[in-house]
Symmetry: C2
């Protein structure tokens, strides 16, 4: 295993990579003993960056690893029978991609970089093996997958029941929460995806996304400058999403 590790790995002497990684509290947010973190670190490969538009894996590829995003953004998508792309998710730093491949041993979606993106590759067979020895790691994997299931179900609610305004507001607040969780500004961030990709994801036409965003800006809910977004009126946005402000799960998508 260690032979496949990249340069940076050899530079670190005694310290573990995972331990130093600013995402360690998020990627598999576990209360692991140092010794366990080291063992996890051993199986992880740090891959060279993907450039915008490059694939991490393609629908139909043999599944062997899950990936943690370290920097940048990925999208996952299906190609439908009529050849159009359907985006099923965006992945920000600290998030895990590829879990849906475990069942069939084949990735059921493609994953593509929206900008320059680096990932950690976590060979699944090794992770599974290690999870037998570290119960808290196993529990953590169950939790991450369970979380994905409930998040996706919230997304189903969004697609099935919400109108265009609610969809876009949910999307922006969801991104905001994810940035906040990793220590970035919750109110001001950059969209790494195009309007077209947002529309595709939310089940809306590009034009509708554009119009809604313009209207939000006109009503001073947000401030927009190209891909830069600033959320100005959180309470009003949350009202649109339809979530009580005291609710822990704000703007779930």
């Amino acid at each position: 295993m260690s032979m496949t590790h990249t340069q940076s790995r050899f530079n670190s002497t005694l310290t573990s990579q995972c331990q130093n990684c600013s995402l360690s509290a998020l990627c598999l947010p576990i209360a692991l003993a140092d010794e366990d973190i080291n063992r996890l670190d051993q199986i992880i490969e740090r891959k060279k960056p993907l450039k915008k538009g490059e694939f991490l894996f393609r629908q139909g590829d043999t599944f062997d690893s899950v990936y943690a995003v370290r920097s940048g953004t990925l999208k996952t998508f299906n190609i439908t029978s009529v050849g159009e792309e359907q985006i099923t998710g965006f992945y920000c730093p600290s998030e895990l991609v590829g879990l849906s491949g475990i069942d069939s041993n084949v990735y059921p979606v493609s994953a593509k970089a929206l900008e320059t993106t680096t990932v950690c590759e976590i060979p699944f067979s090794h992770l599974e093996e290690l999870s037998s020895q570290i119960p808290s790691l196993k529990h953590q994997i169950f939790k991450v997958m369970s979380r994905k299931i409930s998040d996706d179900q919230q997304m189903m609610v969004l697609l099935g029941k919400k109108n265009a305004d609610e969809k876009v507001a949910s999307f922006l607040l969801n991104l905001s929460n994810r940035f906040k969780k990793r220590g970035y500004s919750a109110s001001s961030f950059r969209l790494s995806m195009s309007r077209g990709e947002i529309g595709n994801y939310l089940g809306l036409a590009v034009e509708t996304v554009s119009r809604v965003i313009t209207r939000f800006q006109k009503n001073e809910l947000i401030h927009v400058d190209g891909k830069e977004i600033e959320i100005v009126d959180f309470p009003e946005m949350q009202k649109l999403v339809g979530v009580a402000s005291d609710c822990g799960k704000i703007a779930n998508i």
Copy 2:
């Protein structure tokens, strides 16, 4: 544990319940050694039947078990901020309900019986413990959760991209596949959910569901008698869903 087992458990002498269960190949379709199946069997509680409309668990209840449906049907749903119900899934015999509760230790949805329904309760802490000792069981749980993730993502595609005809056709073929998998007729079955529940699930108004079903019948794609459905023209239905007939994953929802 064994103290909580019901009557039927004591009637069985040496044979395991899970071993005899006709769903064993589906519920956690594992190549478990007899000994392992017995151990799994030990932790499972067979609950008394739920009557139509009764809850298995409610949104917000503390999570402690997942449930395998033995007979009947369940639906899971959220209550939205405006008080309306959003159905996130239907569960047929052999399917597992409750996996989304692992992450937060609370069920994020409610589960309600659509008809008289029996389930096996699988206390999750015991299952997790046992999975440490039986790697193939652990792998199986990963697979079941992974499958749920990719199924839900197909559902997202359906909600985001398909029109009313495609949604209803996908729904019917998906049910057909699930019945077929458990050994029942793929072409002829009974819908345990109302038109309203189908519409809710598919993001359609009741009237639309009703009209589409009527039209399918008029065009001789299906034959309908109340809740009884017979799929007459599979190829045409699959064409509607937009899946090549040689594709393994037909009519994925």
